[in-house]
Subunit: 356 residues, 2 copies
DNA sequence: CTGTTAGCGCATTCAT
DNA sequence: ATGAATGCGCTAACAG
């Protein structure tokens, strides 16, 4: 039989005052005589009084909880986001309720509604591939890509792709395989798009969507002259890396491999994986900040006149957070001469002559 | 300006009755005339009425939320647990509030208290290495190892280790490196312990704790005659696998490598990683079930007389969930002859003769 | 200035 | 058998 936890009422009774007085004393809001206030605070402290958040929620209409909806909790990228969101939310005194949309739009909608019903003050959603989340009666922050309408904040996947391209280019590579999983994912499209944009017209570029070509023979590509492999996820980069390695290619001497997201294993493999990392902390921080602003602000539903839709919102938060290259061992200078030199690619040739 | 959501009161007003009547009609508890009840239900349905969970929480003292405390959200094992817990909880109509203890005991305690304050009806905690969680005024389920006092449910890490040992043994291996990160982790100790227990006295066994020997030279071990490497985590197994591979050893022809947990990348690498998987769904399900039982049950605080502490609890839930071997490509038959045959190990010799 | 009354939305008593 | 008070713990709007 555990003792009932102290409440404002129980403390008030001890002092022969009303619970409201105790509330005021503790919050410093309504004025209470300093002497009484001090004694009340001392007593509350001694009792280990902690306000009942559910009761406060009922009264104020604010639960102090935000929801986090993810497309797939099993996704290895999730930990970083979850951790960053949890930390940012905790810093603001908020709790985090998670929900898994299992990659389905229906489940995503259902999850959102469940969170709303639970009283979430705001929701952060990482939408399923290319899904647009419906408007809701609750502040929403969307983490997807800058290109997505309604996106609140996200990594600048496109610029990240371009930066990775530059890295590879600087290493002397001129023949690339760009590997993604699904075209449906706007994140992946942006990354591949950025990669392409960062590569010169003259470069040889093979784009591979694993969903469509799951049996791609990477060693064969390497033998065919591709020297740099860039995948939209470290998971695929790892697959490529180990596959090439097993086929007898030395990484990075004979081929370079790079991925995205700096997943947990990226630093653990040999050779360690070069990758473009997103600043999850900053993204989560911005998402939470945007939520806070929309929760506190009276939310002028109508965007300020004269703005053409788009990123018009209450608070103009930063939208695209730069990614940072983590250059490790899996990328290195392009092989001096393409060993077997098969089907010499014209573009590659001319490029090479201008780049000693 | 969004319309105020319907409440019991607002619906009651439409019918000129009291909110309690509507509550009864919808819940079917207190009796209401069937005709009225039906009309009320219809109206509620039409309005899309959803009870305010915060209000219900205040009234009933039950929030419909459970907490999930993890030692490190960034741990790659986390997604599986989180997903399984979320699914199991959702099935029971519960929400899941997450908290990261950052591997610190202080933070772990703080996280627990925050969750309690938020009104969590129960908490599932995966304790920090070897930490014992303090008793609390809220039902707790601990996922650690069967050996830990207070453990509610967990994978049978020891048996898992033994099973992995048997697998390797069956493949003809007689010289093993057992690789863990930290002795402080009871999970890791159990896995290593199970591994050792499953190996014959005659086998050669090197146990390596990476925390103490971070610079361990695995290829050197292989050259020294070790043919099987078993790590307590896929992350370390991956490190070993790629390191050996890079040093020119063919896996599994010249050495076998296995890990634990079937992390996301285990199937993606080449060769794919043999691993002992825990049944996260079952573990999470059991943890949630145990919580539900303790929440619903009046919780007889005193254990039934005549029981010597230990696993005595309200509901005797299943404690140790078997792990399952996922044999993939990274393990194979031991090399027929230890190539360099350095310092011929007597034990290994004699063993080998009895096992053609 | 100090402190109290009122009521958030619900479910559970209790009186008809 | 039906339905109307009551109060969970808190704070925002009031009265002393």
């Amino acid at each position: 039989m555990q003792a009932a936890p102290p409440t404002l009422q129980s403390i008030a009774a001890e002092f022969g005052v009303s619970s409201a007085t105790v509330s005021n004393a503790l919050s410093g809001k309504g004025r209470v005589s300093e002497g009484l206030a001090a004694r009340i605070r001392a007593r509350a402290e001694a009792l280990g009084y902690a306000p009942s958040l559910p009761a406060r929620a009922l009264r104020t209409g604010r639960s102090g909880v935000i929801g986090l909806v993810l497309p797939d909790l099993a996704n290895p990228l999730f930990p970083k986001i979850a951790q960053a969101v949890e930390a940012a939310a905790a810093r603001e005194g908020y709790g985090v309720l998670i929900a898994d949309s299992h990659g389905e739009v229906g489940a995503q909608t259902a999850a959102l509604q469940r969170l709303v019903q639970r009283g979430a003050d705001g929701i952060i959603v990482v939408p399923r591939r290319g899904t647009r989340v419906l408007e809701l009666d609750v502040p929403l922050a969307v983490i997807d890509t800058p290109a997505t309408p309604g996106n609140t904040v996200s990594a600048d996947h496109r610029a990240g792709g371009a930066a990775l391209a530059a890295h590879l280019l600087g290493l002397g590579h001129r023949a690339f395989a760009l590997v993604g999983e699904s075209r449906e994912s706007s994140v992946q499209r942006d990354r591949i798009g950025g990669l392409r944009a960062g590569l010169p017209q003259t470069a040889r570029i093979e784009t591979i969507w694993l969903e469509e070509a799951p049996e791609t023979d990477f060693p064969a590509l390497a033998r065919d002259g591709i020297t740099a492999f860039a995948a939209t996820s470290d998971l695929h980069a790892l697959r490529i890396l180990t596959t090439l390695q097993r086929a007898g290619l030395a990484i990075p001497r004979e081929a370079s491999v790079a991925g995205f997201d700096d997943l947990a294993f990226a630093a653990a493999v040999t050779p360690s994986l070069t990758t473009m990392a997103q600043d999850s902390d900053r993204i989560a921080g911005a998402a939470v900040a945007a939520l806070m602003a929309r929760i506190d602000g009276p939310e002028p539903a109508a965007p300020p006149a004269g703005t053409t839709g788009g990123s018009a919102g209450g608070t103009a938060a930063e939208t695209a957070v730069p990614m940072t290259l983590i250059a490790r061992e899996s990328t290195g200078p392009a092989p001096a001469s393409t060993r077997s030199e098969p089907r010499p690619h014209p573009a590659t040739r001319s490029q090479r002559e201008t780049t000693p």
